[in-house]
Subunit: 291 residues, 2 copies
Amino acid sequence: MAYPDRLREQVDDYLSTLGFTSREATRGLEDAMRYSLLAGGKRIRPVLCLATASSVGSSPERLLPTAAALELIHTYSLIHDDLPAMDDDDLRRGMPTSHVKYGENVAILAGDGLFAEAVRLVCEEQEGDPETIVTAVAELMAAAGVEGMVGGQYLDVAGSAESGSDEDRLLEIHSLKTGRLIAASVGVVMTLGRVEESAKMAYRKYSTELGVLFQIIDDILDVTGSDDALGKPSGSDERHGKLTYVSVHGLSGARELAAEYHRRALDALGEAEPRTPELEDITNFIYTRES
Amino acid sequence: MAYPDRLREQVDDYLSTLGFTSREATRGLEDAMRYSLLAGGKRIRPVLCLATASSVGSSPERLLPTAAALELIHTYSLIHDDLPAMDDDDLRRGMPTSHVKYGENVAILAGDGLFAEAVRLVCEEQEGDPETIVTAVAELMAAAGVEGMVGGQYLDVAGSAESGSDEDRLLEIHSLKTGRLIAASVGVVMTLGRVEESAKMAYRKYSTELGVLFQIIDDILDVTGSDDALGKPSGSDERHGKLTYVSVHGLSGARELAAEYHRRALDALGEAEPRTPELEDITNFIYTRES
């Protein structure tokens, strides 16, 4: 599937220009932050942000600081998720994880630093009406906070004694852990561009379905992907006893669900006006990706 | 010394009203966040913020969301600093540290959550011109990020191979680790209140001197304080082989330095107009505190 590589290159170029300190003494911390930030990947959140900008008639270039901030926040979450006290993963994208390379203390601080610098980037570099920037930062923090990413990670690693069916819990964990930040990648564009409420609705539905699709595929790939393609040993969810779409629905059930959410995402996108073809490309890519 | 307890009570009351989730499933994470946040303490950063507001003619009540955010950020940093991979402290304010009580994974996430919710609080609850709020959030993030608190902690735990004299390194570590956030407690009030540049200068100098004074006293108390008063075993800096004002200057040398910085802070404050007596009270309290 065609992935909007042009947008990804813009993101990669912008990320590579980011420095976080002018002090010699804190260069080592910056190195650790850049090591994880520049480790590659599809940059799905920032690319989704830029493609949405393009869809609603904003300039993607203008959104680069906010798009980059999404990737900084995502990277911070990966560094903390990989820690020994969390998922205890040694490899990510075929490279040693942050704590393996730099030590646990530096890894914790590299994550903390990326989070602070993400917010700073939006506040200092994002052009636009300050009122929309304040709202966009609040949205990012809601997506990253207790009722978003951090809360989802809490449920994933520590909240396993919750009540409710496995299916409900699964949806709650993932809608918080990955869904909210993916939805925010679309949502902040609406906020910064002051898009009308009526147009926002379809995008909001689209980004929610896309977040679920993304996670189903992630769970499937953890089982079916090769170590090489994943850049880490496959089967890690099962070893960690995690609740996943595959553990709850079985592999073929998860594949059926993925097909359903793929269709739902495309349907919702079909309602969004205006839109560029890039969002459809991203949706198809997420459905068919192999790593 | 008289400490502005009225302001502290305002801060404590406000902090105790803060909830971070309406979901049953993430209540456990909120509990961990509130456990550390409501463990008491002098609330020096938010009290300093409110006293500064009062000094420059803003209403302290109006600044409560930003004052509280300073305490959330400070609390997040304490939780992460106490982790086994960092200072590995079991007690804080006479109570088990977050990771001892809730486990390391929840402690990391409680810190992460407090950070996100701090920023969200300023964006969602702080009244004022949005342009000043964007600038204030940027200042907070600069104080908390790589050239602030996180960078200082990096130097403290990992950057011990730096060059330069011990005195220079000590000042750099602490100006980043504690000084920047204390200075920001004053600085954000200037920003939110659009205080004129000429008036800002004296406050900026004051808050910088105060940050150094605070840290010298902290280092002295780690040696001279009783376990009961400190709420943790004294002598922990020495056990960790940390560079402190006492290790570099000796106890009497550190006491002389504290007297000097106390005088410098009061001198700088003397230049600040307008001002209320509360800032002098806080300065004297920081100099004479016993825990």
